[in-house]
Amino acid sequence: MKEIQYKKFSWRTHKKNWRGKKPNVCQFELTFKCGLHCAHCYTDCYNKPSYIKKELSTRQVKSIINKMHRMGVVWLCFTGGDPLTRDDFLELYSYAKDKGFITTIFTNGYSMTPEIADYLVKRPPFVIELTLNGITQKTYEKMARVKGSYSKVMAGLEMLRKRNLPLKIKTMATRQNIEELSGIKQFLESRGLKFAPSTLLHAGLNGDITPCKLRLKPEEVIALDKMFSLKSMGEDSECPPTHNSGKKGLREENRLFRCAAGGSDGINVDPYGKMFMCSCLREPAISLLQARQPDIEKALFDTFPTIADRTFETSSKCRYCDIIDLCGLCPGKAYLETGSMEKPVEWFCELAAKGVEYAQNLS
């Protein structure tokens, strides 16, 4: 038996399967159901009973987990919506754990119960990532649009904290909570938690641009970057890193995707069992309920990488942009917001330009 450092194993496994070999990571949206209705949320458009009733059954989720196991997925993230809203969450979580997945849970804490928290103490996940967008009732409930949500979320957070469960906090910085960000930072740090805000909102999965209207002004993003030592410029930190980063000739290659997209080692699955390349780009998709192994392999090794290797077909200004490496827009986000993977989104252009100004002032 050979002992390998976990970090080395993780690095080696990601590297080995990078771009089109096999997926190591899966973000599985167990449900779009969520106790909150945040205006900036990109999945809330499907947080309605008419959509939720079409979501996967327990048996179907298990069947997909089995397929992921056969694909060799190592890291499995249960997300949503809020996965804790599923009555069978613990059953599915345990099922995945027993299969040997390294499991992460994304939640807002609203549906956390002492029973779930106690269970997680006995069988802890790798990490729980909890989104906290406000620390006052007024701000929190203005964002969540649910009365009484503040006290429930704070109780959920405390349940996890008191049980010493592995916890990371995320914050979405929007027009609605900008005044409270310093307070959130202080609140978290006084509890030994790290403040990790993100400013990159994108349109809803149904193309609704309401979330985009809640974006901070580019100069506010720069100010936050300075204040909290963030890095809002460039690709989304949650996306796989650019496969071409730092390589000469990227622009000449005319490549549309700067991220690794479907060619990375990650896949996404929605609550209906469809597998796709990234959380923003949901076409092409393949139904994991119906697909057989050869169909899955074709999607992973042929269809998705072909999309990821696409080049610009229009004379979009992004194609010729000199500061694109400072831009947080990607074809997926552009598609959700404009209906085209190649169309620029002015907010991102302004933010990148402000980033250049900022860098120039520093030097």
Partner: protein
């Protein structure tokens, strides 16, 4: 370890075959706790499969000798080392 001994697996340890390599994962370690994972060679992987809380170590050894073209002394040595490692990481009880 005595050949009559019977070992049980710790349910918190799960094997996965990742890229043709058998890996022993401590699945309930958190991001703060996980330091190591373990890889098993073919013999160790087979021994792990055979540990079921019922078979004695002697029976497992016999099965290994059947499955692999090797001599008893080597199997004994390799099994002893592997089982010691498993005990150390609390993968078996």
């Amino acid at each position: 370890m005595r050949e009559t001994m019977v070992l049980r697996k710790n349910k918190n340890m799960v094997t996965r075959v990742i890229d043709d390599e058998t890996i022993l994962l401590p699945i309930y370690k958190t991001s703060d706790e996980i330091n190591s994972i373990y890889t098993l060679n073919r013999v160790a992987s087979r021994v792990w499969k055979l540990i079921n809380g019922k078979r004695t170590l002697g029976e497992i050894k016999k099965q290994i000798l059947k499955d692999f073209d090797t001599i008893p002394e080597e199997v004994s040595k390799e099994m002893a080392k592997f089982l010691k490692d498993l005990k150390e990481i609390k993968a078996v009880v």
